[in-house]
Structures are given as structure tokens and as C-alpha cells.
């Protein structure tokens, strides 16, 4: 013992590494803090906004305070005007999203599973995909009229391209071991698409739906700016044109809410479709 001590002293210095007193409290605290912050940060933002306006630091005609917007919000709800615009926008998004997603998943799967289809379609998809869909909205109106159909179509087209790209990525990256298992059990080609390829690609498809939900909102609001007589986008643009700034802000807030709602809805879809994904255990 003494020998060892003297030896280590002569060789160099003993550096001590003290034990940690933390057995996980710090992590627990951090999580709790983050949960509170998630709720608190938007409220704090609203509060700052309110104070800035009340102090007269910004022109209240252009930037009404949250309390002023709340009043208008209430009026629009009571009069039913907000619901009229919201419901028609929701219909356009849902119909466009649904058909765009179905078509996109179908075409993407075909491209990923049948090499010939992939070879033929991928250059076409790749060249049309980056064109902002709102840029072809005039064309869509020429083809499908000024009514609801043109709004359904523009949303569907935007969703379609995102879904094709994500589905192709998901389908063509299925781990080869799963394909081997399918072949070793002599599973037919069609059956293996439904029982192996699509389930394996499902996380990518869900991710595509998530992006598409935001995109469909974006495209629809833009379309309603220029080519509609109703809808949330119309509410924002029309309010701006008649200088009803408070109604405009109501529209913007509702769009934000729709974005949040679509994310929550897709969380639900994800839990329903991917009960096997480890992260859904929480």
C-alpha cells in the first residue's frame, strides 16, 4: 500500500474524478422546464405584442393588439362569417389532400416497384416538381373553371408531387433482408407490395403526408388570394383590400391554427398507422 502510494507520487499526480450527485434529476427538470416553455412562449409573445401596441410603439391601425383582434374574432364567430370561410377552406384542403395523397402514393409505389415505370416517370416528375404550383393556377382555372374544382385540383397537384417523391424514396429503400424474406416464403409480387413494401415504406409515407399538409394549406391560401370569393385566404386578402386589418389578423391566426391542427391530426394518423414504431411507445 505504502509502496504503491510512494510510487504514484514519484511518477506523477493522482487526478480525482468525483462521482456525480445527479441520478437523473437534472434531466427530469429540463423536461419539465421545456414543457412549461412550450405553453408559455406563445403567451409571452402575445403579451409583449399587447404591451408594444398599448405603449404606442407601433401604429395600431396596422398592428392591432391581441385584445383588439380578439374582439373582431368574437364578432366574426358570432356572425358566422368566419365559419363560412373556414368550412369552405377545410373542404378544399380535405378533398384536394385526399385525392392528391391517394394518387401520389399509388404512382410513387408503381414507380418504386416497377422499374420501367420509374424510368419513364422519374424525369417527368423531377422536372415538374420544382414548379411552384401556384404558378400554374391560372392554367388550372382555365381547365377546371372558376368554381371549387380548380381549388381541389391545385391542392391535389401540390400534394401529389410531394407524396410521389416521398413514396418512391420509401419504397425503393426497403431493406433487402425484408425482400429476401418475402422471396424465401415465395410471396407473390402483388402480395409482397401490400404486405412488405408498403408497411416498410410507411414511415416515409407518413412523413410525406406531414409535409403535404403544410403545403396544401400554403397553396390553398395563395389560390384563395387570387382566385376565390370565399375561404380563409380570401378573408385575409379581402380584409386587406378594404383595410379591415383586424379581420385580416383573424384570418392569419386561423391559418396558423389550421397548421397546428394538421400536425396534431397527423400525429394521430402516425400513431394509428405505425403502432410498431418504437418512438410511439411514449
Amino acid at each position: 500500500m505504502n509502496d504503491q502510494n510512494s510510487k504514484s507520487q514519484t511518477v506523477g499526480l493522482m487526478v480525482e474524478f468525483p462521482p456525480s450527485k445527479d441520478i437523473g434529476q437534472a434531466e427530469k427538470f429540463r423536461r419539465k422546464r421545456d414543457r412549461i416553455l412550450t405553453v408559455a412562449s406563445p403567451l409571452i409573445l402575445l403579451l409583449i405584442w399587447e404591451i408594444v401596441i398599448q405603449l404606442g410603439l407601433l401604429d395600431r391601425r396596422l398592428f392591432p393588439a391581441p385584445s383588439m383582434i380578439a374582439g373582431t374574432f368574437y364578432e366574426l364567430i358570432v356572425s358566422g362569417a368566419l365559419w363560412d370561410d373556414l368550412s369552405i377552406s377545410l373542404l378544399r384542403i380535405c378533398v384536394g389532400f385526399f385525392f392528391g395523397a391517394i394518387a401520389g402514393i399509388f404512382v410513387g409505389t408503381m414507380m418504386g416497384v416497377i422499374p420501367v415505370v420509374g424510368a419513364v416517370l422519374s424525369p417527368i416528375i423531377a422536372s415538374i416538381y420544382p414548379i411552384p404550383k401556384i404558378a400554374i393556377f391560372p392554367l388550372i382555372m382555365v381547365l377546371f373553371g372558376l368554381g371549387e374544382m380548380s381549388k381541389f385540383v391545385v391542392v391535389a397537384i401540390a400534394v401529389f408531387f410531394y407524396m410521389v417523391i416521398n413514396t418512391v424514396a420509401g419504397v425503393s429503400n426497403v431493406e433487402s433482408i425484408y425482400k429476401d424474406v418475402g422471396r424465401s416464403f415465395r410471396v407473390s409480387k402483388i402480395r409482397s407490395v401490400f404486405k412488405i413494401t408498403l408497411p416498410a415504406a410507411m414511415p416515409m409515407i407518413i412523413a410525406g403526408l406531414r409535409v403535404s399538409a403544410g403545403v396544401s394549406l400554403l397553396v390553398l391560401v395563395s389560390a384563395e388570394f387570387v382566385g376565390a370569393e370565399s375561404g380563409i385566404g380570401y378573408l385575409v386578402w379581402n380584409s386587406w383590400q378594404i383595410f379591415d386589418v383586424r379581420s385580416m389578423f383573424v384570418g392569419i391566426i386561423v391559418i396558423g391554427f389550421l397548421g397546428w391542427a394538421s400536425f396534431t391530426f397527423l400525429d394521430f394518423i402516425e400513431r394509428a398507422c405505425l403502432p410498431w414504431a418504437p418512438k410511439n411507445r411514449r
Partner: protein
């Protein structure tokens, strides 16, 4: 592999059989004649397997022993229908119409993460539209055999590595093929798990009388499990030796290792495998 509890039984012997076609069973499950495989690497022809003759009898446990890269996995993939041989003939006995010739237990985790244990085990039977009652009976039977009955509704991410491989084994057996193919199924497991699963496999094999072709690079694993060991070298992959270890089952490896027969077998296999300097994969 297993702790020594029993002494070595007398009359136990390991001998070498020259004829590669010798089987321990009267009826043949699988028949290979001059089987070979060529494929293109860049623009060059590569002979992966060459003139393999082999008969595997019903209920036989055959180990294909070789270093990595010798072509033993290619052989297994051909037997499993994942690749086509380019030379010779391959024939399987079929018990009844619709009976699949083979099912594979893969080395890596191959069960589907989106199916629970029960659905994974039922996969092969459902794929060939077996009657519902039969699926239910077989799946329950084999899940019980691998000791996972209380985990039937669990998803793979909730299982340990050993349990996942048990599911894989149950899935292959439940499909009721003529021949079961296992490709180094335990090589990713720790020693204790490996020993447990080897014993479970032997028990299920004895209870079901299935024909098994087991690919491994571990000499001791082959000696512990096999009726017949085919020493495989390559490329081009071919059978260089056939051994029939006749140690009484259940084999107690500690006792087996103490016998002169084991010593002889080991030496002979090493000769068959060729120089070991360049294949660190071979483990005793």
C-alpha cells in the same frame, strides 16, 4: 457449450465418411447433382460454386461448415430459392402439393417490425393461403415451442435479440417446409443465448423430425449439432470433406472435447478447411 454433468458414453466415435452422398436416412429430402453457380463480376465470370453432389435424408441435421466468403451462403440462398443455380440439378421431395421446399432462418434480424410475434410466425402460412384453422394451430404450437406464448402480441422492438431469433425460427418451422435452412442463425447472439437456442433448436428438430441444413463457421457448433458435417471451401465453393460425428445425443461438449475422437475430428476438419492464417472467421 454445456456444463459437464455426464461422463463420456462408451462406444462413441467420430468417423469420416468418404462418400459425400452417404445419408443417415432412407428417403431423400433434397438432391443436388453437379450443382454450380456462376455470375458476372464486372465483365468477368466468377465461379461461386462448383459441382456439388449431395443427398440430404429426411430428418437429417446437416451442417455446412466453412470460412466466410467460401460460398456457403450462396449455396444456402440457392437452396432457399433466392438465387438460381446455373449448372446441375436441384430437386426437393414434396410431402403434399403446396408444401414449400424450404424456409430460411437468416443471420440478421429478419422479422417484420410492423407485425407482432403471432403475425410474424403466421407470415409464411398466410402467404400461401393456408386454412385459418391450420394457421392458428401451427402458429400457437411453434410459438409455444420457442417459449414466447406470453409475448404473442408483442412487437419486435419490445423483444431481445435472442427472442427475435426465436420468432424467426418459429416462423420458418411453422411454414412446414421440406427442408429448413439456417444461415448462421446464432452468430449475433451472446454465448449463453447461443447455447440456449442451440438446445431449443435441437429439441424442436427431434420433436418434429424436420430436415435441417445449417450453415456455420464454428467447428464446435457443427460438432454439437450435426448428424453430418460438410466441410466447405472455396471459391469456387465445393464440399471437401464429409464427417459424421457419432457422439450420443444430447451431446455434452465438455465430455466430447475430452475424447480422442473429437481430437481426430478437429484435426481432420482443420485439414479440410485448409490453411487458417487468412480466415480469422474460423472459431473453435
Amino acid at each position: 457449450m454445456k456444463p459437464s454433468t455426464k461422463g463420456v458414453e462408451t462406444g462413441m466415435k467420430a468417423h469420416m465418411v468418404d462418400a459425400q452422398k452417404g445419408t443417415t436416412s432412407s428417403r431423400v429430402s433434397m438432391e443436388l447433382r453437379g450443382l454450380g453457380k456462376k455470375f458476372l463480376v464486372g465483365s468477368d465470370e466468377f465461379q461461386a460454386l462448383k459441382s456439388i453432389d449431395l443427398d440430404v435424408g429426411v430428418g437429417e441435421f446437416v451442417c455446412v461448415l466453412g470460412a466466410s466468403g467460401c460460398g456457403k451462403t450462396t449455396l444456402l440462398r440457392i437452396l432457399g430459392g433466392l438465387e438460381k443455380h446455373t449448372e446441375g440439378t436441384l430437386r426437393f421431395h414434396q410431402e403434399s402439393t403446396g408444401q414449400p421446399p424450404t424456409s430460411i432462418v437468416f443471420q440478421e434480424v429478419s422479422i417484420f417490425p410492423w407485425l407482432n410475434v403471432w403475425e410474424n410466425v403466421a407470415f409464411g402460412l398466410r402467404a400461401r393461403n393456408a386454412p385459418k384453422a391450420l394457421i392458428k394451430e401451427r402458429v400457437s404450437y411453434y410459438i409455444e415451442k420457442v417459449g414466447l406464448t406470453s409475448f404473442s402480441k408483442h412487437f419486435p422492438h419490445q423483444l431481445s435479440g435472442g427472442m427475435k431469433q426465436r420468432v424467426s425460427i418459429a416462423r420458418a418451422f411453422a411454414n412446414d417446409p421440406e427442408v429448413l435452412l439456417l444461415d448462421e442463425p446464432f452468430s449475433a447472439l451472446d454465448e449463453r443465448n447461443k447455447a440456449t437456442l442451440q438446445d431449443e433448436l435441437l429439441r424442436i428438430w427431434e420433436e418434429t423430425g424436420k430436415t435441417i441444413v445449417f450453415v456455420t463457421h464454428s467447428i464446435d457448433e457443427a460438432i454439437y449439432l450435426a448428424d453430418r458435417i460438410l466441410v466447405f471451401t472455396g471459391p469456387p465453393g465445393h464440399i471437401t470433406q464429409t464427417h459424421m460425428p457419432e457422439f450420443a445425443r444430447p451431446r455434452d461438449m465438455t465430455a466430447v472435447r475430452a475424447t480422442p475422437e473429437y481430437e481426430m475430428l478437429l484435426k481432420s476438419i482443420h485439414v479440410g478447411l485448409g490453411p487458417t492464417g487468412n480466415d480469422p472467421e474460423i472459431i473453435e
